[in-house]
Symmetry: C2
Subunit: 202 residues, 2 copies
């Protein structure tokens, strides 16, 4: 008895949001994408709200997995490489899919009026910040590490947000170039020596 319906409905939710937006993604439309009856949403998720919350959890987990996987392939002592892994995970191809981007943005604005979603999103934001701060504290004073972590986090979200509005989507390569450039200018000159050669051009 493998649970086939739940992931099926979550996928259908993202498809619907990608195509129609959250506002117009009724249970009728979502269930049509999944090829099932609308009533089944209540059976498995207790209602539409439960489905939306599960969908958001799924998106958050995908992001978390992408970051964790890249961190796992990184030398634990190479601070620059680890920060690049975190950044790269946030611009992973799975996160750039148009349906995922639209789902993210829809939940972001929805979260402000929905305590359950608000908590989820906030935990996610704090985790990114603490990941970054943890690495930066190895090469910067604590206060400065916090400051730079906020800068990097803002760059990630800002580039992502602006890219969501760009017809061509997010330019992952440019995004990482901007953030790497920021990072290099914030690190003390000695810190970069332990990492890979980071300067790319010019």
């Amino acid at each position: 008895m493998p649970e086939i319906r739940k992931p099926q409905l979550i996928k259908a939710t993202m498809q619907a949001i990608g195509a129609y937006g959250l506002q117009k993604s009724s249970v009728a439309i979502i269930s049509r994408y999944a090829g099932v009856s609308p009533a089944i949403i209540n059976h498995y998720f207790g209602g539409k709200d439960g489905l939306l919350e599960a969908t958001m959890r799924s998106v958050l987990r995908d992001l978390s997995d992408a970051v964790r996987e890249r961190l796992g392939e990184t030398d634990p002592n190479d601070v620059v490489a680890r920060i690049k892994a975190i950044v790269g995970g946030n611009f992973d191809s799975t996160q750039l899919d148009s349906r995922v981007v639209k789902t993210w943005l829809a939940f972001w604005s929805q979260a402000m009026h929905h305590p359950a979603l608000f908590r989820l999103q906030r935990v996610n934001e704090q985790r990114l910040l603490s990941h970054l701060r943890l690495e930066l504290k190895r090469v910067l004073p604590a206060e400065r590490a916090q400051f730079v972590a906020q800068g990097i986090a803002a760059l990630i979200d800002g580039i992502w947000l602006r890219g969501a509005l760009t017809p061509g989507g997010i330019n992952s390569e440019l995004a990482q170039r901007i953030i790497t450039d920021y990072l290099e200018r914030q690190l003390p000159p000695t810190a970069t020596l332990t990492g890979l050669p980071t300067r790319t051009a010019r």
Copy 2:
């Protein structure tokens, strides 16, 4: 015959979005905030969509005015001061109001599925970028100016987006400190001499 209803309804729209979110802001709720009949929305805006578009135009104009006003009080030759003016305008107190922030975010996610709103938001994004690029080109090579402008724009949007999710709201002072720090590290050493003393601590 001063047009009293239109601004009244636009204000009511932002109040409703701030309190209930865009999804639950029906014409009934909005008109209740304005103390008028729901039917009047169609009379003045041709429908709910027209009201939403007018509301977004209003928000965009307020931002544009805040930036323009600050630029007007700035020495045309002081590049650093002018960029700080642009940044400061984006973190003007009128833009930090909770209802405005929620309205912004609601429209941002709505824009992806609404061509009229999409165009408005995109024009706004491009204008910020070109303002920044114009100033930066006076102290940096064109290609580099474009690069840094994208960084500053991303920082503005990213800090603003993250602040929207923070219980305490946006920390305007910290926001400007992060961006100023970024700017200083991007400018050639000579360029900062024309501006005010910018280094704050440490």
